[in-house]
Amino acid sequence: MTAPTNAPTLVRRRRRRREVSLAYLLVLPSLLVFALFAFYPLVRTFQEGFYLVSPQGERIRFIGFEQYRNVLTSETFRNSMWVTAKFVLITVPGGLILGVALALLAHRQLKGIAIFRTVFSSTVATSVAVASVMWLTLIGPQFGLLNYWLGREGAEAIDLLQDPNTALYAVALSTIWQNLGAVFIIMLAGLQAVPDDLLEAARIDGAGSWARFRYITLPMLSPVLLFASVILTLNAFQAFGQIDLLTPGGGPLKSTNVIVYDIYDKAFRGGSSDVGVASATAGLLFLILLALTLLQFRFLERRVFYGN
């Protein structure tokens, strides 16, 4: 019986080959989607950014990095970067602080606390469109209640969305509200992971509630805070819907013209169609987001408590 010694390796090899083709078959659908709608358009975006493009969408001339330089030095791009930065700096800390505050409030053993937890997480069910229209009741022209309350004392009528000094803050407020439910859920889960006996031991040692929060809860919450701040920052950089619904056109004096709105404005809003500049802007946005994600992880990793 010497012949069969070859047979098992043959069978194994055939099985192995079948396994490999199965594996490729399984990853293929995803890879197709990624190739067609993520990688190819990403390359195309950078490529298109090198061309002067006519309003009809035809490439006129290759101008290479000059286009990127033009965009970087343009008033519009600088303004939209500044607006976006302000928007990030308002909505991210604002969302985190309010989210933690709500979570601390709801992290107690009280009868009926489940109802309050549901209420606090309720805005997670609102889309950007729903949240924005709901906020019109507060900041909308003519009928916004905040306008009404703030303007009752003064002589002039207040219109938060029409005033270049306040429009971005008003939009940011509605964004913070929309994010609040999700941040609350994440923070509450983080608080529940802090061991009670640790807090109890600190209390017995005489640590006040602020000291317990500052030296136990907050450090143990740091991975969750990192996670939420990354998500909120990326979200803020990609903000679009609230701008389009609350301040169509990019706001008074372009004061809410965040970067994604600027791309949309240049590529899709009739008249000012400029695909080359829009592509270059999108390419720059990609680089910013990439750098930001990497930087944020690197920077925060060192200061974050991961246990042990």
């Binding site: 199965l22 594996a23 995803s30 709608f37 993520a38 950007v128 209640l145 859920i185 999108a282």
Partner: protein
């Protein structure tokens, strides 16, 4: 000072009750602030526009009317938009979860050349936000393929995500390898093992992922805005924008439309609360 410390060590009954009342008062006040925009939207949807604009504002409608809701469905086409949103969102959710299950199985249980490279490509998609590629994607899908105003334009780009595949791979890696060997002895092929053993074991994660995908797809705004003009294909989010643009003198219809658009997701949140929380906190708490 001394008495205060003594009391905080073992608070008296009266103080305990006072503290508890204070807690509830604070909770109620904060809940009121959080819910206020939703409440006012509901109130405004029940008032004629002239009363929405009236000052001082109405907070408790004495004679509510529901005509704005029927009008939102009738002239506002909200029914059509809701159906579109359901179709598009269901297809995207099924696609994302389906493609992720398949790919995750390959990454967790199979060995193949270029596995690391392909896995890296999956992860790299997390670094390419859709906002960056819309200009080019619009060119491909609308200009080149001529798919403007179609379901495939709304669905196809979102049928797979690196995040979903990554999340499921992590979960599948937790399935004991002995199970695979045992299943192989029973004559299970890979696909049968995936369908009968792995997927049922990973059901909590798959459920969380589905709810999360549904929520994100339902809420999409920018892409549906630029690829649909025809109200036949418009999703409900874009329908809200249209409603707001069309009926400047019909604010009640705009607010009624908003409530209608919000209700499906509120129901989803209540029914699948556990899955949603899992989906949101996955990766956050476990590090």
């Amino acid at each position: 000072m001394a008495t205060e410390r003594a009391m905080s060590g073992r608070p008296g009954r009266g103080l305990l009750i006072a503290k508890r009342i204070g807690s509830y008062a604070l909770l109620v006040a904060v809940a009121f602030v959080v819910l206020f925009p939703i409440y006012i939207t509901v109130v405004n949807s029940l008032l004629p526009t002239r009363e929405i604009l009236a000052r001082p504002p109405t907070f408790f409608p004495t004679s509510p009317r529901f005509s704005a809701y029927t009008e939102a469905f009738g002239a506002g086409h909200l029914g059509r938009y809701l159906v579109n949103s359901f179709i598009v969102t269901s297809l995207i959710t099924a696609g994302q979860v389906g493609t992720a299950i398949l790919a995750a199985y390959a990454f967790a249980f199979l060995d193949f050349p270029l596995k690391r490279t392909i896995f890296f490509a999956f992860l790299a998609t997390l670094m390419v936000p859709f906002e960056v590629t819309i200009v080019s994607n619009y060119d491909t899908i609308v200009n080149k393929l001529g798919w403007g105003d179609s379901y495939q334009a709304l669905v196809l780009p979102f049928l797979a995500t690196g995040f979903a595949a990554f999340l499921l791979r992590q979960t599948f890696l937790g399935v004991p390898r002995d199970l695979r060997d045992a299943a192989a002895l029973d004559g299970y092929g890979h696909l049968r093992f995936l369908g009968r053993v792995v997927v049922p074991l990973a059901r909590p994660t798959i459920a969380a992922l589905s709810v999360f995908s549904f929520l994100l797809a339902w809420n999409q705004y920018l892409w549906p805005l630029i690829v649909t003009n025809d109200e036949k294909y418009r999703t409900v989010q874009i329908g809200l924008k249209a409603l707001r643009g069309e009926s400047l003198d019909k604010l009640d219809v705009v607010f009624a439309g908003t409530i209608i658009a919000a209700i499906p997701i509120f129901v989803l949140l209540i029914v699948f609360n556990k899955q949603l929380v899992r989906g949101l906190t996955q990766g956050a708490v476990k590090g």
